[in-house]
C-alpha cells in the first residue's frame, strides 16, 4: 500500500494549478466547498455551475483520467446512499416512471450528489497538483497550530516508511505460508499490527533524539514567506465567487 498509495497522489506538471501557492489553493478550495454547501435547494444552476467548475479544475490539472477515476471512488458509498434516499425519505410522493418516491428525498439526493461531487472534484484537482510538502507548508502559513503542523509533517514523511514496513511484514507472512482468508487469520494480523505499533513508536523516539541532536526547538522553520500577489487571490477565489454570483443573480432576478 505505501508504495501504491502514497507516492502517486501528486502528479508532476506545470499547469496554473501546479504553480499557485499551496496556502492560497487551500483557501480557494475551502471557500469553494463552503459556497457549494451553502447553496440553497433546488440550486439547479449554481450547483450545475459548481459541477462544471469541478470538472474544469480536474481537466486543467492535467492528470490522466484513469488516475482521477480511481480517486473519485471515495465517493461511491455516498452515491449509493443518494440512490437509496428517495425511497426511504418521507414526505410528498412523486412518480418517476413506474416507481413512486419521496419528492423531498429526491431533491436531497440531487443536492447530495451535486454538492459532494463538485467538492470531491475540486479536492482531487488540488491534491494531484500539490505535493504533500507544500500542503504542510501551506497549512503552516495558514497558522495551523505549530504542534499540529509538526505531527502532520511527521505523518506524511513516515507514511511510506511505515507502509513499506507493512509490505515487508506481509511478504514475510506469506512466504511462511500464511493466507488471509477468514476470521481465523485475525490473530496473526492483530499481532502484526502490534509489532507495527512497537516499531512506529520506537522509530518516533529515535527520530526525536536525532532531531534534538540537530537543534530541534519545537517548531518547524518557515521556509517560504514570500507575499502572495493580489492577482493570485483573485485566481483562487474565482470558483467560489462564480458559484455565489450565479446563486445571487438568480435570487435577485424578478
Amino acid at each position: 500500500m505505501g508504495g501504491g498509495h502514497a507516492h502517486h497522489l501528486q502528479i508532476a506538471g506545470d499547469t496554473l494549478l501546479h504553480r499557485l501557492p499551496a496556502h492560497a489553493k487551500i483557501v480557494g478550495l475551502v471557500t469553494f466547498a463552503l459556497a457549494v454547501v451553502a447553496t440553497p435547494a433546488p440550486g439547479w444552476v449554481p450547483l450545475g455551475t459548481a459541477l462544471v467548475i469541478g470538472v474544469a479544475l480536474v481537466v486543467r490539472s492535467g492528470a490522466p483520467g484513469r488516475h482521477i477515476g480511481r480517486r473519485l471512488l471515495v465517493e461511491v458509498p455516498f452515491l449509493i446512499f443518494a440512490v437509496v434516499l428517495p425511497f426511504v425519505a418521507t414526505g410528498e410522493r412523486t412518480s418517476i416512471g413506474p416507481v413512486t418516491v419521496s419528492a423531498p428525498g429526491l431533491m436531497a439526493s440531487w443536492l447530495l450528489v451535486a454538492k459532494a461531487t463538485s467538492a470531491v472534484l475540486a479536492a482531487t484537482a488540488f491534491s494531484v497538483t500539490t505535493t504533500s510538502r507544500d500542503i504542510v507548508a501551506g497549512l503552516q502559513r495558514l497558522r495551523l497550530p505549530a504542534t499540529l503542523v509538526a505531527i502532520l509533517s511527521f505523518m506524511l514523511r513516515y507514511l511510506s516508511v511505515v507502509g513499506d514496513e507493512m509490505t515487508r511484514m506481509r511478504i514475510a507472512r506469506e512466504s511462511r505460508g500464511f493466507r488471509s482468508r477468514s476470521v481465523r487469520s485475525w490473530g496473526v494480523l492483530g499481532r502484526s499490527l502490534g509489532s507495527m505499533f512497537i516499531r512506529s513508536f520506537e522509530r518516533g523516539d529515535r527520530v526525536h533524539v536525532a532531531m534534538l541532536s540537530r537543534g530541534w526547538t519545537g517548531r518547524l522553520p518557515v521556509l517560504d514567506e514570500t507575499p502572495v500577489a493580489g492577482r493570485t487571490w483573485l485566481q483562487v477565489l474565482t470558483p467560489a465567487a462564480l458559484v455565489l454570483c450565479v446563486a445571487a443573480f438568480l435570487a435577485v432576478r424578478p
Binding site: V37, A108, L152, V162, G194
Partner: protein, 229 residues
C-alpha cells in the same frame, strides 16, 4: 467512510467545526503535558500507525473484508489526548490528500471519530479497568469493550447531527436503528481487532500501552554481583 461536503447543512458543519477546534486546542495543551517535546514525533508516528492500520484488511469471509477504525486503539495505546490529535491529523490528510471526507465536514468528522469515538472508547475502557481485576490480562478485554461501544456511539452521534442538520426528512427512528444495528456488527470487529493488538502488546511491551502503564512496574537497572568462581 467519512461524511462528505453537503451531507449536513452549513450551520451544523460550522458548529461541529468550532467544537472540534476547541477540543483539539485543549488536546494540544494536554498532550504536551503528557509527552512534553516528544509530542510531535510520537504523535506523528502513532498517526501513521493508525492510517496504515486502517489499510490492513481483515477478511470477514465470502470475499469481503473490514478494517480497523482505530479510535479505541489509539486511545488505549497513546492516551485520549494524543489519540484525538492523531485522529484529527489522519482526517486532515484524508480530506486534503485523498478527498475522503469533505473539507467543510472536517469538523464533523473530527467530532465523530476524534472526539466521540476516542472519548467514549476511553471512558468505557477506564470503566472496564475499574470493574475488572487489576491484572495485565484485563487490559485487552477493557479495550475490546471500549472499541465495541465506541463505534455505535459515533454512529448514533452522526444520527443526532443528521437530525439537526440533515438534508432529507428520513424517519429518524429507522435511521438510528439501521445505523445502530450495522455499527454494532462493525463494533464487534473493531472490538476483536483492538483486543488482539492490545493483547499482543501487553504481552510483549506493556510499557508502551498508555492504558496499562499503572500496572507496569518500572524496570530498574539492576547490577548483580558477579559470583567469583
Amino acid at each position: 467512510m467519512h461524511v462528505p461536503d453537503g451531507f449536513l447543512d452549513a450551520q451544523t458543519s460550522i458548529g461541529t467545526g468550532v467544537l472540534a477546534a476547541g477540543v483539539v486546542a485543549v488536546s494540544l495543551r494536554k498532550a504536551r503535558g503528557e509527552l512534553d517535546d516528544r509530542t510531535a514525533p510520537l504523535a506523528g508516528l502513532v498517526a501513521v500507525f493508525i492510517f496504515a492500520g486502517q489499510m490492513l484488511n481483515f477478511p470477514v469471509g465470502a470475499g469481503t473484508s473490514g478494517h480497523l477504525l482505530g479510535g479505541a486503539l489509539a486511545a488505549v495505546l497513546a492516551g485520549p489526548w494524543v489519540a484525538t490529535l492523531c485522529l484529527t491529523v489522519v482526517l486532515i490528510v484524508q480530506a486534503l490528500l485523498f478527498a475522503d471526507g469533505g473539507l467543510t465536514a472536517l469538523g464533523t468528522n473530527v467530532t465523530l471519530m476524534g472526539i466521540v469515538g476516542v472519548w467514549v472508547a476511553w471512558g468505557i475502557f477506564r470503566l472496564g479497568r475499574l470493574l475488572l481485576p487489576k491484572r495485565l490480562s484485563s487490559v485487552p478485554l477493557a479495550a475490546a469493550l471500549g472499541g465495541f461501544v465506541s463505534v455505535p456511539a459515533a454512529a448514533l452521534a452522526f444520527v443526532g447531527l443528521y437530525a439537526v442538520g440533515g438534508a432529507a426528512p428520513i424517519p429518524l427512528g429507522s435511521l438510528a436503528a439501521t445505523m445502530g444495528a450495522w455499527h454494532v456488527v462493525i463494533g464487534l470487529g473493531e472490538a476483536l481487532i483492538t483486543a488482539l493488538v492490545v493483547g499482543s502488546l501487553v504481552s510483549t511491551r506493556p510499557d508502551l500501552v498508555a492504558g496499562a502503564r499503572d500496572l507496569v512496574e518500572a524496570d530498574e537497572l539492576e547490577i548483580r554481583a558477579v559470583v567469583a568462581a
